[in-house]
Point group: C2
Chain length 199, copies 2
DNA sequence: CAATGTTTGTCGGTTACACGACAAACGTTG
DNA sequence: CAACGTTTGTCGTGTAACCGACAAACATTG
């Protein structure tokens, strides 16, 4: 049984997963996800097929891990961190989601090619957003009424849902403006867990 | 003790060597060969330092293998094959050597940086040229008087020596013209082993 | 000179990867 | 329907890669 991507110390495992994710990313540029067999991915990664299953249960799990890794990489490149003290600090996270979805392959856009994996990609992105939000929420005192996991899950779903609509528009407003709109929607949600405001 | 690059079946070994050679190539773009430690190269290749020594005796051996591999890759990309039947078939090989030396890092050129490894690079290139010539010579009946190994070694040395002079010139003639010049010099050498010409 | 730190090359013990083989779950074709 | 080829997921057996530790060679510093 494959173990979580986090907390992998052995460099061989890190390298193998990096190779597999890189291979999938490359192959998706020329072929659709459904056309790819595990053998194809393993070959492109110069990894044995059996080794693939030591890391992921199937190719969907690999896709999920790849999306998560790429999104987290984007956040890291921009030094985005959700500081839970202020709900509006979620702005950069929303902005990152916009940019990620607008370039990420296999998306609502005009191409029918990878339409079938959109739910999986969506779930991975939501999970990644949730994780970022949660790490910020966990840094402060527990909220009254709602568990931070609940808040993070709800906000992440809201953000992804909004951004997906935005990415599917014909003439979408600029991302900056759109971020503000979404922020207004989710601020109350995040603030629900915020410590009492000092007036 | 490390084994020859040829005849390596295990994909793990192929991959490790590819990673090591790629890492060295990358590192040489920003640092000189002398500044690099085995640890640096191993890190960049995401390979353990001890594993490095399972493949190469030291970093010089890696450099040699890398040069050889790159030169052979160039030949393969151009589909260059020395067909021993005609001495002038060495033309493309000479041309490849010109192009390779004029772009290869660590060379006579103005940069003093990697001057110290020039002999090693030269030896690797000579060995690569020799191997190509020999594979062509071996395909025909054995020569009278001189062993094919001797012919190939001499011709390879001559070609490299000539091309090195050419690459070090201030205003070198175009490669095409220069190839003809060198060809005239080495043709008698290669023809010495040629089967009797039909008149 | 001695003391210190870095790099080198080597050596067992542990772990991940390669590989062939296998049964099961699919299409597809006749 | 049966026969066929492909892909999937799993398993046991070798082997290569990882790792810490070590002594030796070397450079730097006081």
């Amino acid at each position: 049984m494959p173990i979580s991507d986090c907390a992998v110390k052995d460099p061989r495992m890190r390298r193998t997963r990096r190779l597999l994710q890189g291979a999938l990313r490359t192959l998706l540029e020329s072929r659709s996800f459904d056309e790819l067999s595990v053998q194809d991915i393993a070959d492109a990664a110069t990894v044995n097929r059996a080794t693939f299953y030591d890391h992921y249960t199937d190719k969907h799990a690999l896709l999920e891990a790849m999306i998560a890794a790429e999104f987290h990489q984007l956040l890291e490149d921009r030094q985005v961190r959700f500081d839970g003290t202020c709900a509006s600090a979620a702005g950069p996270v929303i902005h990152a989601a916009c940019d990620f979805l607008s370039v990420c392959s296999g998306h609502p856009g005009p191409d029918q090619k990878n339409r079938s994996i959109e739910p999986l990609v969506g779930a991975a992105v939501v999970a990644a957003i949730r994780r970022v939000l949660l790490s910020g929420l966990a840094a402060r005192k527990p909220a009254r009424g709602a568990a931070p996991e609940l808040i993070a899950g709800a906000a992440a779903g809201a953000i992804y849902g909004a951004v997906k609509e935005w990415a599917g528009r014909r003439n979408p407003p600029p991302a900056e403006k759109f971020v503000g709109t979404v922020l207004k929607l989710v601020e109350p949600m995040l603030a629900a867990a915020a410590p009492r405001e000092r007036k």
